[in-house]
Structures are given as structure tokens and as C-alpha cells.
Symmetry: C2
Subunit: 199 residues, 2 copies
């Protein structure tokens, strides 16, 4: 059926549109159906109606195909921190940015949770996710520096904030009843404040 869709769309031009999106969808399907390590990049390309070579023109490696959303997440969070009130305390500004990110992930709903299950199920993918979140922390730290926060406070606040985000996300991804992610995040941040103050 995927083939049929591609066939009908092909009339619109030389190539079926949205090759990148088709690759992402094919990858999610295959990683879910067979598992990450029993899926080859050639499999993904074939299901998307493309050659393996073209896969690598769109994504740097076998893992990147799952991490487009992470890039948008980082942009959103960074913008949120930058746009926080100038007089907001560093951690408060970070919390504002992360809250924007939490709303985005929440809007993805079950898709975000399905993706989290796949990523969490394979070490290579989990590793890449950590790298993406680390990049987000660096970016947030840089924005804090632009806001006048000196080091190492900027780096520490950014890393702590992203750590809270990660813990809250892992909690939310497996929580029953799909609670709103922003609420989970806010609660986690409050927990951190208590833990650091009390310890």
C-alpha cells in the first residue's frame, strides 16, 4: 500500500515528494516491526522506494533518521530560554525554555512515546539520544552566557535543567494514563530544588 501511495504521487513530478519523511516513516516501522539490529539501511531505503545511497544523502548514519524531532526540540528550547524575561533567574529561564519543549513533545503524544520505546530499546540509539540532549545542554548554556550568566554557573544550570528534562521524559514515557508532560516536568524540577536544598 505504501507503494500505491508512492505510485500515485509520482505523477506530480519526477520523484515522489518528501523522500526524507518517507525514510523516517519506513525506519520507524521497521525498527518497531523487526527491531533495530535486524533492519538494514537497505531495508529502510527499499520500503521508502529509494536506494540505499539516497538514504545516506538524507541522514548521516543509521541512527540519525530517528532524531529530526530532537533538532526542532533544541531550537524551541533555546528560543524559550532566550525569550525569558531578562530579570528571570537562570534556572527559571531554563525552566521556561524546557516547558516549551515539553509542550512540543506532549503534542506528539503517543508518537513520542513509541519513539522513546524504540530508542530506549537499543543501546546505540540511547547513546545518540544522550548526545542530542548533551548538545541541547551546551546550546542552553551558551544562551545563558549571552544572558550574562558567568561560567561555571551557566553550564551547571543548563546541565541540571536538561537532566531534569531527561528524567521527567523517561518517567512520562512509561507513565500510565498519559499525564501532560509539562506537569511532570514541573514536578520534577520542584523535586530537584528540594533535593539540592535538603542535601
Amino acid at each position: 500500500m505504501t507503494v500505491a501511495v508512492i505510485g500515485s504521487l509520482q505523477r506530480m513530478g519526477r520523484w515522489a515528494p518528501d523522500a526524507r519523511g518517507r525514510l523516517q516513516q519506513a525506519a520507524m516501522e521497521l525498527y518497531t516491526e523487526r527491531g533495530y539490529d535486524r533492519t538494514t539501511t537497505a531495508d529502510i531505503a527499499e520500503r521508502a522506494g529509494l536506494s540505499e545511497r539516497t538514504y545516506f544523502r538524507h541522514f548521516a548514519d543509521k541512527r540519525e533518521v530517528l532524531f529530526d524531532s530532537t533538532g526542532r526540540l533544541e531550537q524551541l528550547v533555546v528560543a524559550g530560554v532566550r525569550d525569558a524575561p531578562a530579570d528571570a533567574a537562570p534556572l527559571t529561564a531554563v525552566a521556561a525554555g524546557l516547558d516549551d519543549g515539553a509542550q512540543l513533545l506532549d503534542s506528539f503524544g503517543d508518537d513520542a512515546r513509541a519513539r522513546a520505546a524504540v530508542v530506549g530499546g537499543h543501546p546505540e540509539l540511547a547513546e545518540r539520544e544522550l548526545a542530542k540532549l548533551s548538545a541541547m545542554a551546551r546550546a542552553v548554556g551558551e544562551v545563558l552566557r549571552e544572558r550574562g550568566v558567568p561560567d561555571p554557573a551557566a553550564a551547571l544550570t543548563a546541565e541540571a535543567g536538561v537532566a531534569v528534562f531527561r528524567v521527567a521524559f523517561e518517567q512520562w514515557a512509561v507513565a500510565p494514563g498519559r499525564p501532560p508532560f509539562p506537569a511532570v516536568l514541573t514536578a520534577a524540577l520542584a523535586e530537584l530544588r528540594t533535593a539540592v536544598a535538603g542535601g
Copy 2:
């Protein structure tokens, strides 16, 4: 000259001793001399006087050869957290464990800094380091749970503590005059407390 050493030692048995250590040393040398991506696993094995196949019997992939020390670090930190006074607050217990780890890294001195430079210079290696530290955070969180700390406080305290460790390490790795790492770590932890309290 490496060959000469191996030759003389070979008389002590069928194989030169400490194949694993030779592989680690060869890898550090080559990654430093030529860079990570211009070194093949066959190169490493050859310099260590072994076959490529044997390399993969000692290390799971091309990256792991640099991360033996991280395993020992985790064991030490976990033990330190476990052995902290039972009435110590969670973050205080974590700080005690991390301080043990800081002393270990400090004792490695310039070797630790050289290794950090190599790891920091290559995305694949940096990614693996993040994964190792994440594993350490999980292990620390587990110990906190054993100490009676409930979730999500356990996970959050562990992640925040390891985040402080990471920031302090990056700072220390490039700091002039080689300050003692435990002191850098303690200062970073104090900074975090201030940042969280103030924000």
C-alpha cells in the same frame, strides 16, 4: 622498540603478557598520532602485536578500548555513595562518592587529561563517554534507592550529581596549572547549590 619489548617478554610464555594493556596503549598512541578516524582497528592490533580478531575479543568495538578506566570510576563512585553515613542527605552521599572518583582521576594526572583531549576531539568517542557517565548516574540512582531515597528524587539527585561531575571534569581537563580535581568538583557542587537556590 615496542616490538623488542614484546620479543623479550614472549619468552615468559606462549604469548606476551597483558595483551589488553598493549591494545589500550597502542590505541591511545595511534589516536593521538593520526587521529581516531585515520586509525583502523587493524592498525591498533598490529602495533600491539596481535591480530585484529583478538582486538575484538578484548573490546566490544573501536571505542571501548579507551573506556576501561570509566568502569573502575563507576565502581569507586558507587562504593563511595553506598558507604556514606546512613544519615547523610542524598546529595551529600552522592558528593562523597563523586569525591572518591575525583581523587582517582586526579591520580591519573596528565594521562587523564590526554585521554580527555582525545575523547573530546571525536564525536563518536564523546558520545560513548556520555553513555558511560549516564550508566554511572543510573548506578548511583540505584544505590540511592537502596539507601531508601524514593523516586524520582533518587534519579534526579544522581543525574544532577553526575552532571556536576561532568562539568567539573571538562573544566579541569583544560584548566592551566593542573588544579586538584576534588577541589574543582567541590566548587562546582557549591555553584550548583547556589544556582538552584537562587533560581
